[in-house]
Symmetry: C2
Subunit: 429 residues, 2 copies
């Protein structure tokens, strides 16, 4: 049962899809929220760009303002929820909030992935808390489990499907045989992809999320700039067919790994064995697979976006903040000040799937194998497909440093028997 | 970076498979643990039955004792980790620890599932914390996410594969066509099943875990006695074949659901559509699928048992306790004092798969359908298989209260055309 104490006052910075969902849930689940947080929680002010915008959930316009200062300067507000998105003015507001020792809950992945260090340092100075469960994986609890539940373990690898748009597109391409362009158009019609889909399909969104997860996992500040990214626009239906024949599924994965040479962090289309738990994550769902040294394989699955799932994650953060208000902050992250070193992509070891359109002539395979051999790339499987004009070689390499693979690719492009290399996709096992 | 403060002293009650794993990890991950907990953590005393037992990890015997009082009465110990298992003396020790305001971390599912109310009340009285992440799903973070991350949502349903032994057996039966007895023997050889496997295969272990999860989800104390249970020993290879033909997998599921009539809590073999994320959880892995009103579908997957995965969960709890020591406890669970009401199984609505061995004669189907109709059970699909002595009817009902289904079953058993009903399995969609 809730203790009878004064309500915690929340300032909502932004009130679009997610913000209105937060307002809706705070009202609807008031009793449960009070019991979980052990104090009543109320939204006392909302900063908006325009009061009369259309919103997915009804919101009390009487507490709205278009003046940031009227919320930021209100000493009665204990916790700010930032759901504006983008880095400015979100960053300035966040720093102001934390500078005053008020707590911040944010769903803003760019903000944390780019300015995490600055925010964590500001929070440490004033003993304020910064929570951002909603910034990765929408409604999926992943940030807090990584920080707390795995606090006694060492995370060795993260493999995440953290972008629902691209997972939806790849799922459709795989199920329907449609092209990337067709599947993208369908995703746009359904509202799963934006009119300008580049942040999703080129991997930028996933890179921000991976920067956050890998900072927590490797206990150092890693920014989105440090994450190598490659989007899905060059994945062809034929590649999905080939992958299926070889026993793989193709997913856009965000991968961070602690290897002997160092830490890697990258987003790219990836062939995954069908038996891998991530291979069957379909549609716009997200899932994060974590390999801990002692805990072994873990996977967290759920809705990676959407108003209410994301609002749920935000309220989980609010519950956590309210429970520990007045105590030493539970979320102090001094480690974010240590700059995280990330291996240059050239040094990352992967297996590769490659398709070569070739001249149908005896000795072709020997020439191709020779180039790989010269570059110390060993081949796991080679299949010759089609004849005449459609002759192709489909191969998978063993693990090799990106640098060697690229050198081999350059060599292959110079061969007169190689007409084109239409596809290269990294392979995970 | 860790603050330099005195080490938190841990008393380890029990030092078998899990306890020695805890000791091992505390030593091995000392630096990371200190950073996560923000204080050094050390095991200062260990209660054992016999000092010279064989253990999977090396443990410092100089801090071992066989005298419970020498640990329980030591005022220098801040946190006790209980990994003895069973309800006594674990319960008495736990109550003593909490009575003195010391914190308790336990992996003991029976203890929480049977005596949760008493323990939570003792903890509330002294502002001590009780943590039990390791009691459900081994290394999988599920207790804390349910409590904190879903604090702003309403949990409507839990479907869990929470027993690795039975999941291993069913996976083998399904993959190899082996019988229950063969798969059990194999599991015993591999150490996945005990010599007396009854707690696992009859659903008792899963029932304890479900009692804990449903108490948290439905915010009331639900004990393992309140959970209906049915084991896997009657599942036949033929049922797995039939299930596969119909597009289903068979899993031992722990299911808790908030329905209009009330809350249900039950463990039984269940046919799940192949496309359900739980259907592909194979071998001795565990997974808990949670449906929240706002967050939608979530799934948590990982190693449900084993020394180090379980020890990782325990250390996650220790990190959490240490971070909030001296603050109002983050885990106060007054709601456990509200007795949870669970619907009698007769009132629970399920779909059912049923196999009837029948006399191969015209009109049989009409008689059977008549009995179902008389009991208001409607049929979703009926397939007649085999001829002559091997004639069978395989059917799936629509959703129906258990009481009506049982009445229909009694009616069917009285029909002269029905020779035997070798199998009944509930079906989830």
């Amino acid at each position: 049962m809730a203790e009878s104490r004064d309500a915690v006052k929340i300032g909502l910075l932004g009130c679009g899809t997610i913000g209105s969902g937060v307002f809706h849930l705070v009202r609807k689940n008031a009793a449960g929220l009070t019991e979980a947080a052990r104090r009543p929680v109320e939204v006392s002010g909302i900063l908006v760009k325009a009061i009369d915008e259309a919103r997915p959930f009804e919101v009390d316009t009487s507490i709205m303002t278009t003046e940031a200062s009227s919320l930021l300067d209100d000493p009665g507000i204990d916790v700010f929820i930032e759901v504006m998105g983008g880095t400015e003015p979100a960053r300035s507001y966040a720093l102001e909030v934390l500078g005053k020792g008020r707590h911040l809950v944010t769903a803003n992945k760019e903000l944390i992935a780019r300015h995490g260090r600055e925010l964590m340092e500001a929070a440490v100075r004033t003993d304020a808390q910064v929570m951002f469960e909603a910034a990765v994986g929408g409604g999926i609890p992943i940030v807090r489990p990584m920080e707390l539940s795995l606090g006694g373990d060492v995370v060795n690898k993260i493999l995440g499907i953290v972008n629902g748009t691209t997972n939806y597109i790849l799922t459709r391409m795989s199920a329907e045989g449609s092209t990337y362009a067709e599947a993208l158009a369908e995703a746009q019609q359904l509202g799963y992809a934006e009119a300008d889909p580049s942040a999703d399909v080129e991997g930028g969104d996933a890179a921000s999320k991976l920067a956050i997860l890998s900072s927590i996992a490797f206990k150092a500040g890693i920014t989105s700039d440090q994450v190598y990214r490659e989007g899905i626009s060059r994945v062809r239906p034929e590649d999905l067919d080939n992958a299926a024949e070889l026993g793989y599924a193709v997913k856009l994965l965000a991968i961070a790994e602690r290897a002997e040479a160092g830490v890697s962090a990258r987003v790219h289309p990836t062939m995954l064995p069908r038996s891998h738990p991530l291979a069957s994550i379909s549609g716009n769902f997200n899932a994060v697979f974590v390999i801990g040294e002692s805990v072994g394989d873990l996977m967290f699955y759920g809705q990676g976006a959407g108003s209410l799932p994301t609002a749920t994650a935000i309220l989980g953060d609010v519950v956590n903040v309210v429970r520990t208000m007045g105590s030493p902050p539970a979320s102090r992250r001094s480690y974010w000040s240590r700059p995280g070193e990330v291996l240059p992509m050239e040094e990352v070891v992967s297996r590769f799937y490659m398709v070569l359109n070739v001249v149908d002539r005896p000795g072709v395979l020997a020439k191709i194998a020779g180039v790989f051999g010269d570059n110390n790339v060993s081949l796991e499987s080679v299949v010759q497909k089609g004849i005449g004009d459609g002759a192709q070689i489909v191969l998978i390499t063993h693990g090799v440093a990106e640098r060697s693979f690229r050198a081999a690719t350059e060599g292959l492009e110079k061969l007169d028997v190689v007409l084109e290399i239409p596809s290269v996709i990294r392979v995970e096992s």
